[in-house]
Symmetry: C3
Subunit: 631 residues, 3 copies
């Protein structure tokens, strides 16, 4: 499939006479896909049971007649006001106990059966009307699960569903008490109705309680999505997808993705740099107008895995956004480059958000490809260039990687539940490993942690911070034959969130038990060598495993047995560089803003810096890419 | 009217035998006005409907007999405990949904009809008793509207009143939906009862929703005040006033002021420096014991406008206060100098708060002119010197200004509602312009934004950040004939809070449309020239307007057409200095602590620094002023 | 009594077959005392009224048979889930109004009569079963009062009890109104039911209201404890104790201690350094693995007073904890040294927490003497060394001090209620004085403020920050004959929390009235001499008292009359050093990590630094102590 350019469009926001002109201009820009409908519930069903299809029929007609393929969204992220009259208790409740009000979006609790059914009903009527319509190229279910912190809810609906979830998992309160260690502070339950959600406790709740709650809310999202899929699937042959958001970790995307055909994500590189990335101020200043050089790639690789190979960028930043602490404009070239980069990672469609900047409501200062007065914004030209560039690419670009990074949502929840030190975050650790591998020039597959998976075929598997593994998962990882790097904090807890006996990591072939862990204050930074240090985490091991690397004070930080490695500390970027060079044999690190992504046939050399960079006999212009055939 | 010294006095706090001695000493100090009664509801009406006039009659007798003019306060800022038994739902509710408790003051929601009527009834009975009493020189309505964050309330009373307010404004839910753009996220309402207050939404509510709510709560304050005025006005010939607080922006002071005869404000220069001013630490250290050199003047000029020319300082800091993060004592001379400065700006009365420091309750560590043991505090001597100085002034001091600064509360709400960048604040922008003009030696009138106003007669009008204007307002500003500086962020939204088409600022005669806005992180600071930079905001324009100033990278920051200027970025203080010098022709800037204020006959040269400053052939002692006849 | 080593043990957490092995190993380690039972309510009384004694009987058998003395805890800190069915309103309520949920511990309001009775009933049944059992060496009542911020509760139970408490104290609402100065803002009450708890007020509540509330909640803790003591005391001859926590100030430990026989505290030096100590980053880095050199000693001396001479460390940190912002491991030697130091201050028992690290629940990453897999952790060896060292000590070590520091919980509440400046904290002041005395080599007794106490026998009494004193307390302090240092902020308020007339400090023989106080921003630091400065507080006095020390600008900071001194500012550490050297005649200050503690017969020289320190002809190894006979 040839990679394509798309756009997000809201016919309900504009006078109908503008639709044909918009459609024509989209086509002229090289756009092939247009997403519509995902926030339009109040226009599709203005009153309960009263549907208005006319405008949507006409919008589809106009767009499809111009030659555009339609991606139709189900509108469950924006239940209309009257839905609250049916289900006053459908609102999510925050950790302080306050119900979240109507007036923006995503104001529902995933555990509420009534609204879940209503959303599925909406899928059914949409499917009945458009399911076999060949103009619908794909369906988007809901919008940005988890955005605005909407996974964790402390509603009555969630409380009741959590008790049922626990009852199914543990079968008896006694079993739950044992698994959680509730004897600890007389926290034992006699009945399922004794169990509450883990907010507002006097001090930290039992971490097993919190971790199960986090697993539960993730399941609620997956079930919510599955319920819509079940309603829609029998009515259509078009693929189903969801548009995930960057760095949303509160639910397991692999679980949701299992029920869908394609993964997509919403890529806002400059907004994310400002809002969702911990980095040194100098780094943020350097990439203020470009975005972080690894953040998009990480998510591209992640969602390629979530989509089992098929993935899109559903929303691509087209100019300044409105929601980050600071909102500068992209450097010239970046709006195009982001699309090229996505395609290098295998994206089928890169869809800009949005066609025309809205003149009203929450996102009126969020750029579009067009200004509100219907004149072209800078993004339009770049989108056109991107479309032209994609048309010139070989038809088949198959991503190719010799390195795998395991990314595991459960581990994030485990770390959040039991941090053991301020600033200790699983995503940051995984991302620091990813960045180090990329600095060494690697192309990477991100993979889930799965019992039945064959991890073979890679030269190197990096799996940091997998706090709990079951034996089959450990077996799958170590059986791959690849060089394997685990740690820190890997397999140190059982799935019930207890310390195992004997202690972890229990890696076959590596005689090592982690007996004690330490967290350090920021800035302590024990020295390793030259300007290499470790950060806020150190584990202390026991066993006969070979020590491959020590701190200057002699404390081991890297253990080894054959191709199996265990990292017992959190390296800084420089030390990560050494470790990764050692494991990959990379002769050097790439310049700070340059990255490489390989497909089977081509090498993309991508320059996130403003200035040109010389590399391997080539000059890569600033904010641009070279596409080289692989020899 | 000769400017006078006043004082705030609480006879109910002291044994009756001290009253005559206090009154005598006030007169000996040169004090002519004494404010009483504004917190005394529980003593005036100890039980519902049971009034105790005796003590108040006697207090008025004692004070007036000594020769003092009485300013009588209505006590509605402190409803007694029994009022809650009548109106349990009168309490304001905070943004998290918690009703605010009895036990301090201002614990009422302005939208509560029942308490509003009760407060008006109290005005009526006070007016019936003292309204024609010639000893009452003025009435103060309530006390410090908005202090302690008491304008925004999320009570049931507010919810119901907000629905009514919207129904009156929009006439139909459909019209509201259109005006707000509620189609955006299916936020459309079918009925007024669908509308809630905009707190506790999942993410940002519709900015039009929030802005209307902010307009509504401001109206509630104005209506609250008007209701008391309506009860009192027929019963008295004495002027009515209110004492506003510094940097309170949540209601439109001009609206409240329209119903009153005099504006007054409560001036706590050192408390404000510590608590309410964003400034560099070195600046705060330099003026720690004096207050910021422009903060008082800004409010003097503002309240002169709110009072339509008549204004007082109702509470003047007399020594250390108790409520700021740090509470140092004023430098010697400042307690007097603040009074002189107020008079230079046209104050009729400067009234110190308070006569004697209270030995009990919330403000026991707030200084008075007297210590709690009835010995003189340092402020007393300074108040006496101020009174002597005022007596030596010419009887008529008419403020005189060639420059006007437009200050608009609606713009503050608009910026707060749609900030588009961290740290972006309308007051800070307006104050930075005011400071720059003052550094250039200007005397300034602060003016509201009014449709019908004639802005003629000024050399220069500075109107930064007026986010929404209607056409008549724009016409009034541009028709003045003065040099006009607008921007940044001026007229970029319609009154309905939408982006206009064609885009703003739509200044007659200036062909310029702002198409895109950018916010930058703190410290980015694009360079202009020398050590001049811009800060966190940049707009990008389209049109044929002449570019008067560019950043070093070529991006325009100042546009011009004849006398009309539009500033497309936020200058730092140094760049503000250049711009203001260019617009005013000022040959140089004043020293950091020195300021000038002109009346028609005299020039006041005021030195906020501790050390003497040489200026124009004069030496101005530290913490002192020169009063020079104007040639 | 020979000082002993103990340990905390949770038989209910472990398989019964491990108990005998554990007991043997404890004895082999030199442990003599074992605390059990304090969190085991759900195992002792699994259902209401159904008791399971078997396991506890057997556990006591096993431990006692091995030769261990049992400390038995009453389990009221962990009421089981079914208790909430009996008393749904027993939960504490936070300041925002949210009830705190079941799921951790300490989830009760001390003012709740029903649960208070239930806890006393539990004491009774425990006492009936084990009260005369000679194997029980002591009883611990509840666990860590005030931990997790559990003293201040805003529940209905607290509201009702507060009204009763006020009614008993003031007898009439009129008397309360007068005492609090409620006339100030019409805050007067007509009836006890008018009075609410002082949370959620619009601005600061009346400080007299808040201070009485703080006295009330402290009384609730004391009454809570007394109720358990009353139930248990008639049934046992063993001593009763409680284990207090470090830097918990919300209740008066002396009041609780008055009803008990022994005080104990839970000493976590590294956790406290990270979590509960304001100190410069360099200081925290230097002592990261050792703890602050004075923090433990301060609490040792404090709890020796609370215990009227008898005191223990009930929980001693054995390795990394899990609850601080960072949790590094102790430096080798410290786990032993902390025990030695405690004994130097007079501890009878030092009990490590806990025997074996729990593999589950909240504290699974909190070290024990044993690892979860039942292998020895580093702490075990150190505990054994400590036991051996204690065995070699002289049988009788009587603490000896020539200096007393007065520490007063009421003063902390007064300062918190009326801070008058950011960062102004009573504990910090008292601790800065304590540290300065220790740097001068002093051994110190910490004493409560008591009317009837004879403070004679000391060379020097330091009593900073005693905000309110009654005349008898002042008389007791000044009658001691010792050199006395009071101030800053001493006796400046009456017990009713009013400013006295004449003003304080009203020290007999010292003609000084503090008329005005100033708080300064951090960093202002007025200069005194050399590198000595004062910090954020300055008082201004009146009177004929001799000025012993002035700031460079002439403002007095130390007054004197004979042996009586009043400090009118907050000195920095260097200035504290000068003052203390002057008062004590100490020729020099000790090195930063070295401290001295005297008993009647021996001098302990304790080195908190990692490296050896030379002192007085000796070399003290790092993390170690010298024990020298006193000449």
């Amino acid at each position: 499939m040839m990679p394509s350019i798309g756009v997000c469009y809201y016919p309900e926001h504009w006078a109908e006479e503008t639709w044909p002109r918009d459609a024509r201009r989209m086509v002229d820009t090289g756009i092939t896909h247009v997403r519509i409908g995902e926030f339009a519930w109040s226009r599709i069903e203005p009153r309960p049971g009263v549907f208005d299809w006319d405008w949507l029929d006409r919008a589809i007609d106009v767009l499809a007649s111009a030659g555009l393929k339609i991606v139709l969204g189900t509108p469950s992220a924006t239940p209309p006001r009257w839905m609250l009259d049916r289900f006053p208790d459908m609102l999510a409740v925050d950790a302080a106990g306050a119900p979240r009000k109507f007036g923006s979006r995503r104001h529902y609790c995933h555990a509420h059966d009534g609204y879940r059914d209503a959303a599925a009903d909406m899928c059914r009527v949409l499917g009945e009307r458009y399911g076999r319509d060949a103009r619908i190229a794909a369906w988007q279910i809901d919008n940005e699960y988890g955005c605005h912190d909407t996974v964790l809810s402390y509603s009555d609906a969630a409380r009741h569903a959590f008790r049922d979830w626990l009852a199914r998992k543990y079968q008896s309160p006694e079993a739950l008490n044992r698994a959680w260690g509730n004897v600890f502070w007389s926290m034992e339950y006699a009945d399922w109705t004794d169990v509450d959600l883990p907010n507002l406790t006097v001090t930290q709740p039992n971490p097993a309680h919190e971790l199960d709650y986090r697993r539960f809310v993730s399941d609620m999202v997956a079930q919510w999505n599955a319920r819509q899929v079940a309603a829609l699937r029998p009515l259509t042959d078009a693929p189903l997808l969801h548009n995930y958001m960057g760095r949303v970790l509160e639910f397991d995307h692999f679980d949701v993705g299992a029920d869908l055909d394609i993964a997509s994500w919403d890529s806002y590189p400059i907004g994310f740099l400002s809002d969702r990335l911990e980095a040194a101020p100098a780094h943020k200043a350097r990439f203020m107008r470009q975005g972080d050089p690894d953040f998009q790639a990480f998510h591209h690789d992640l969602y390629r895995a979530v989509g089992k190979g098929r993935w899109w960028v559903m929303e691509q930043q087209p100019g300044p956004v409105n929601w980050a602490p600071s909102n500068p404009a992209p450097a010239p070239g970046m709006v195009r480059l982001w699309a090229i980069e996505a395609v290098a990672h295998g994206a089928e469609v890169v869809s800009y958000f949005r066609w025309r900047q809205a003149p009203f409501a929450q996102e009126q200062l969020h750029a579009g490809l067009m200004y509100p007065d219907d004149t072209p914004a800078p993004g339009l030209t770049e989108a056109k260039r991107a479309a032209d560039d994609l048309a010139a690419l070989p038809a088949q670009l198959t991503p190719s990687a010799r390195v795998a990074l395991i990314f595991d949502y459960q581990s994030d929840w485990a770390w959040k539940t039991l941090p053991q030190g301020a600033g200790f975050d699983y995503f940051d650790l995984a991302f620091s490993a990813y960045r180090a591998l990329r600095r060494a020039g690697m192309s990477i597959d991100i993979l889930p942690l799965e019992t039945a998976r064959d991890y073979g075929g890679y030269d190197l598997i990096v799996a940091p911070g997998l706090m709990t593994l079951n034996a089959a998962e450990m077996q799958a990882l170590t059986a791959s034959g690849a060089t394997l790097l685990m740690g820190p904090r890997s397999n140190l807890q059982t799935p019930d969130f207890q310390i195992p006996n004997p202690p972890g990591p229990a890696i076959p072939g590596l005689d090592l038990q982690i007996m004690q862990v330490e967290s350090y204050p920021q800035g302590y930074a024990p020295h390793v060598r030259d300007d290499r240090h470790i950060g806020i985490w150190q584990e202390h091991g026991r066993g006969t495993a070979e020590v491959a690397l020590r701190r200057r004070d002699g404390i081991p930080i890297l253990y080894r047995a054959g191709k199996i490695h265990y990292l017992a500390a959190w390296p800084d970027d420089a030390l990560w560089g050494d470790i990764v060079q050692d494991l990959t044999g990379a002769p050097s690190l790439l310049p700070p803003g340059l990255r490489i992504r390989d497909t089977e046939s081509h090498r993309f050399v991508i320059n996130y810096d403003l200035d040109p960079v010389d590399w391997d006999g080539h000059t890569v212009p600033g904010c641009d890419a070279l596409i080289l055939p692989r020899s």
